[in-house]
Structures are given as structure tokens and as C-alpha cells.
């Protein structure tokens, strides 16, 4: 769709609301044409960052560059970005086709032309059959596709998605994230997707940017972030990790890299707190000396060869190569 992929870059972008700093001088260069996820807990500044990129929030300090030019003070529609809102923000009084054609109407494109263009967009999201309906008459997933079509009709260089899947039920969420990923590949434009769900970020993103307390904690490919978290926050937030304080400092280790053996053997001794059956795996929570909790993810068949119960003493084993030293 776009021959030239433009690179989006944040240069010490800051957002202040009075005395509170929502986004604190963050720097990041997004991969052009990639799928990036801004991941973090609520209030970490990820939404403010997205809204600043979109132009719905002013930048207190710093610049946002798209394809080398500063867009931080342009109005939203002049930036080459388009935003898909959390609740989709479809105009309830307009039909699906009119919703999609809205930006064309604002630019003065005549009715026939804009509806034709909207039709093409609706075809892209596989919704041509419903073009005369009102948003209220659509399911959540269909509304999302309309919102997607409405954002894409402006041919943006960057599509900004604000928690796009949070309003859907879990089953639909997984299906829609597959569709988002597919669409991004087809269009080849950058998607920047804000989420607080680590599974969503891991499933979708080429690049994960983990934010906490108004700063970027870690950025990298999904595998890098998951396999080598650099801070305790990232290790905990991305899930599947234990953060252990050992004599050499704090370390992260994946829960599936911890094995459970006989009491007396292994690296550390623990006391089983709870056992949770998760289908393919069984999650065993243990308490080691110093009141530290360590989870071990044991394959189901292995666990039931030698079942354990809360209260049992066990030895925890791991390969030291799997320990990652944490900076904070």
C-alpha cells in the first residue's frame, strides 16, 4: 500500500499534567513497517504516548518524528497517522459505510466517490455485506473492523491502536488479534498497539516496548524481551518468570526452566504452597528460605508420574545458564 515505509521516532518525548509526569523523556525508534506493542500496567504512560503520537494530546517536551520530519505540532489528520479508539468511537448516527467514508466527506469528496472508496475498505476487512447497518446493529468484532476500515481509509503511514481488543470476549480477542496481524502484514505499514496484556503483546508484536512509571523499561523483539528481561519489573510483568534474590544479586529464571526433584537435592529447598493444573502444564508454587516464592512449570505427564501435594518438601533444580541477571 505504501511504497515508502516511514520511520517513527520519539525524541525525549515528555508529557506533564500539572506537576505529574505521565511520560518522562522517552526515546524510541520504531521499526518501519513493523508491529510494535506498547506494553505496561495502567497508568504507565503508554496511552499518553500513543495519544501524543496521534496528536490528541500535546507534547510537553521533545519531538515526534515521522519519516524524518517533526510532526509533534501538526493536527492529527496532517500527521500521516490514524487512530483506532479503545471503544472504537464509531459515529452512532451514521451507517457503516458513512462511518468509513467520514474522513473523505470532511475532505469534500463527493458522495458517490467516497462511498465507493469506503466499499473498497470494507471489502478489505470483509464487511461489505453490512455497509448499510448502524454501528449499534453490529457485534463487537464487526464494530472493530469498521473502526479499522475507518482508520485505514486515510492511508496512514502509522496505525495507532489503543487497547483495540480489550472490549472483546476472550475467544474473539484471540481471533481478532490474528486478523490484526494478518492485516498488518498485508498492508506493510507500522502498527503501534497499546495493551496491558502480555500474551497479546507476545502473540502480535515484532517489537515490544515495555513501559512502567512513565519510562521505557525495555524494548526489543518479543523473544528478546521474553527470554532476557533486564529488570525485575519486566520479568514479572511479561510473566512466566521467577525473580529470585541470590547471593550474586537479583536473577530472573523462566518458570519452565525450574525442575522439581527429591527433597535434599537440587539448587534450593522448597515447600510446596499450591498446585495448579493448567492443562498441558502444572504450575507448582513453592516457598524457599527467605520467604521467596518460586513457581515451577512442570509438563503434565511428568508431574502426574510423581504427584505432589501442598506441604511436601522438594528440591528445586535449574541450569545456571538460564539465570538472567537483572539490573533493577
Amino acid at each position: 500500500m505504501n511504497a515508502i515505509r516511514k520511520e517513527l521516532e520519539l525524541v525525549s518525548v515528555t508529557k506533564r499534567y500539572g506537576a505529574t509526569v505521565a511520560v518522562n523523556a522517552i526515546n524510541h525508534r520504531f521499526q518501519p513497517g513493523g508491529y510494535a506493542c506498547l506494553l505496561g500496567p495502567s497508568g504507565c504512560g503508554k496511552s499518553s504516548t500513543l495519544r501524543m503520537i496521534a496528536g490528541h494530546e500535546t507534547v510537553s517536551d521533545g519531538s515526534i518524528l515521522l519519516g524524518g520530519s517533526d510532526i509533534s505540532h501538526l493536527p492529527p489528520a496532517k500527521r500521516g497517522t490514524a487512530m483506532m479508539f479503545q471503544n472504537y468511537a464509531l459515529f452512532p448516527h451514521l451507517s457503516v459505510a458513512e462511518n468509513v467514508a467520514f474522513s473523505q466527506k470532511m475532505r469534500g469528496v463527493d458522495r458517490q466517490e467516497r462511498l465507493k472508496k469506503a466499499g473498497e475498505m470494507l471489502e478489505l476487512v470483509d464487511l461489505s455485506a453490512l455497509s448499510d447497518r448502524l454501528p449499534d446493529q453490529l457485534s463487537g468484532g464487526q464494530q472493530q473492523r469498521v473502526a479499522l476500515a475507518r482508520a485505514l481509509i486515510t492511508r496512514p503511514d502509522v496505525l495507532l491502536l489503543d487497547e483495540p481488543l480489550s472490549a472483546l470476549d476472550p475467544f474473539l480477542r484471540i481471533r481478532m488479534r490474528g486478523e490484526l496481524r494478518k492485516l498488518q502484514r498485508e498492508l506493510g505499514i507500522s502498527f503501534i498497539h497499546v495493551t496491558h496484556g502480555q500474551d497479546e503483546a507476545l502473540a502480535l508484536a515484532d517489537e515490544i516496548v515495555v513501559m512502567n512509571n512513565a519510562v521505557i523499561e525495555q524494548a526489543g523483539s518479543a523473544r528478546d524481551v521474553f527470554n532476557a528481561p533486564t529488570t525485575a519489573f519486566v520479568a514479572q510483568f511479561i510473566g512466566g518468570h521467577n525473580v529470585i534474590a541470590l547471593p550474586g544479586g537479583h536473577f530472573a529464571i523462566r518458570t519452565d526452566a525450574v525442575a522439581i526433584g527429591q527433597a535434599g537435592a537440587g539448587n534450593l529447598q522448597g515447600n510446596i504452597l499450591g498446585v495448579e493444573y493448567q492443562g498441558a502444564h502444572v504450575s507448582v508454587a513453592t516457598m524457599i528460605a527467605g520467604d521467596q516464592e518460586i513457581n515451577a512449570l512442570v509438563p503434565e505427564t511428568e508431574f502426574f508420574e510423581n504427584p505432589l501435594n501442598p506441604g511436601d518438601q522438594v528440591g528445586l533444580t535449574w541450569d545456571d545458564a538460564n539465570l538472567h541477571k537483572l539490573t533493577a
Binding site: G55, P76, A77, A82, M83, F85, F91, F102, M106
Partner: protein, 284 residues
């Protein structure tokens, strides 16, 4: 079991039904009934007689007075709508903090702490021939002679109506506007809409139900009014309400009832037509 439930349902609806029948249906039925009675200078005779309606529809005065009533309703509607929409828009979209929204909104309601009549009459010393408005304009040198049309004129009537009823437009419009999701406005801006385009393509269409409810309030109030027209026009103009009140003063109840029935049907017709255009159910 089902029968029992139906019975309980009717029983629960009984109090409100009793109130409505007693205070709404019966009086209207009474008015309709009396409108067919015969009246002479000295007596009222129960009958089924179309004479009152014949007289009403045969008289030129009726048409002029109805036209006048519509004129007042229309002009008042135009002004209350433009002022009310502007005020509501300001409160809903420009005043950011909720505290200030409430403060300013309460400020709008302060005039309602006094009675309609007092608010109306207070215009008289202001607009009179030697009133504040005229003397101020003369002292500024804007005019040499006092303006006669300020008081006891259609201008004064419309002014009083607008003053009395603008709030009835502000409240429902403000209420509807507060329900507009701000992300819709952001989405419109994201799509490149200018301020005027957002107003025309997003805010006004979404405010229509509120506008319609305000319109119903204002139109019914103005069409049923008689005291404002009497005071502010100095008894020089008439509307249907005054026609009815004059008939009552002359004890011509059947004639008053017939006029009331026609007025009621006219108002219902106007509202019926308006409701065809806008669906207000979402607001209720």
C-alpha cells in the same frame, strides 16, 4: 400462576392509573363534553351541538389568533434554540471541570427562584417609554426619541418568552451533549474534521433528541400561554390562550372548551409531526 401474575401486575399499575384517569382523562373528557354544549347569554344547556365549533371555524379572528400563536411559538423556538444550544455547548464542551459545569448550570437556574409573573413584570420598568433601556440609549446618543416598540409589542412578548423558557431548551440539550463520548470528537478530528465540521456532522446530529425534547417544552409552553402575551403586549395582541381566558371571563365555558379542544389537537399534531423526524426514546 400466570393469571395471578397478571392480576398483581394490574394491581401494581392501579395507583398511577387512578391518578391519570382522575386528573388527566376525566378533565379532558369533561372539556370535550362541554365543548358540545349550548350556551346563551344567560345559561349553559347540556346538548350535543356543533355550534361552538362552527362559530370558531367560521370566524376570521380564530385564524388570525392561531396564526399569531404559531408565530410566537416559532420565533420563541428560534431564539431559545440558538441561545440554548450555545449555552449548552459552552457548558458541555468548553467548561472542562465538572465543578464549574455544576456551578454555571445552577447559575442558569437562579431566575427560577422567583415566579414567572415577577420575572415578566420586571421587564416593564426596563422597557417602558421612560424606562432604563430608553433613557440609557438616549443618554448614549444612540436615539433621540424613546423607542415605542420596546414595550407592549410583539418584541416584548417574544423577549419575555425567550427569557422565561430558554432554560427549558438548555437543560435537555446539555443533558444530551453530556452523553456524547468525547472520543467521538477525537475520532472526527482524527479524520480531519474542522471545528465547524465536527459541530455540523457529529454534535448536532447526536444532540437532536435533546433539541427535540426542548422544542416540545417550549412549543407547548408558548402555545398554551396567555398571561405573558397579555402583560407584555399590553393587551394589544392575542393568542389562543387569551381567546380561551376571555371566554372564561365571560362565563362562555362551552366556547372556551371548544377552543381548548382545537388547541390541544393542534399541539398534539405539531408534536406528532416533530416526533416523526427524531427518535427521542433513547433519552427517556
Amino acid at each position: 400462576m400466570l393469571k395471578n401474575n397478571t392480576f398483581i401486575g394490574w394491581l401494581m399499575a392501579l395507583p398511577i392509573m387512578a391518578v391519570l384517569v382522575f386528573f388527566l382523562v376525566l378533565p379532558i373528557a369533561m372539556i370535550v363534553m362541554v365543548s358540545f354544549w349550548k350556551a346563551t347569554e344567560f345559561s349553559i344547556i347540556p346538548a350535543f351541538d356543533l355550534g361552538n365549533y362552527e362559530f370558531l371555524f367560521g370566524s376570521n379572528v380564530t385564524y388570525r389568533v392561531f396564526f399569531n400563536t404559531f408565530k410566537y411559538a416559532f420565533l420563541t423556538w428560534v431564539f431559545t434554540l440558538s441561545i440554548g444550544f450555545t449555552v449548552a455547548y459552552f457548558l458541555a464542551f468548553h467548561v472542562r471541570s465538572q465543578t464549574w459545569q455544576i456551578v454555571l448550570f445552577l447559575l442558569c437556574t437562579i431566575p427560577f427562584w422567583t415566579s414567572n409573573i415577577i420575572r415578566m413584570i420586571s421587564w416593564i420598568p426596563f422597557l417602558g417609554r421612560n424606562g432604563i433601556a430608553n433613557s440609557t440609549l438616549i443618554s448614549w446618543g444612540v436615539i433621540d426619541q424613546p423607542l415605542d416598540w420596546l414595550l407592549f409589542s410583539d418584541f416584548a412578548v417574544i423577549l419575555a418568552f425567550v427569557h422565561l423558557y430558554t432554560l427549558f431548551m438548555v437543560v435537555p440539550i446539555f443533558n444530551t451533549m453530556m452523553r456524547i463520548d468525547t472520543s467521538l470528537i477525537e475520532a472526527a478530528r482524527d479524520a480531519g474534521a474542522s471545528g465547524a465540521q465536527i459541530l455540523w456532522n457529529v454534535i448536532i446530529p447526536l444532540t437532536k433528541p435533546g433539541i427535540m425534547i426542548g422544542t416540545i417544552f417550549v412549543v407547548t409552553l408558548v402555545m398554551g400561554d396567555f398571561i405573558t402575551v397579555r402583560f407584555m403586549s399590553g393587551s394589544q395582541s392575542a393568542n389562543v390562550g387569551r381567546l380561551i381566558s376571555n371566554d372564561i371571563a365571560l362565563l362562555a365555558y362551552p366556547s372556551a372548551a371548544a377552543t381548548a379542544v382545537v388547541l390541544l389537537l393542534t399541539v398534539l399534531l405539531v408534536i406528532g409531526v416533530m416526533l416523526r423526524f427524531v427518535d427521542i426514546r433513547k433519552e427517556l
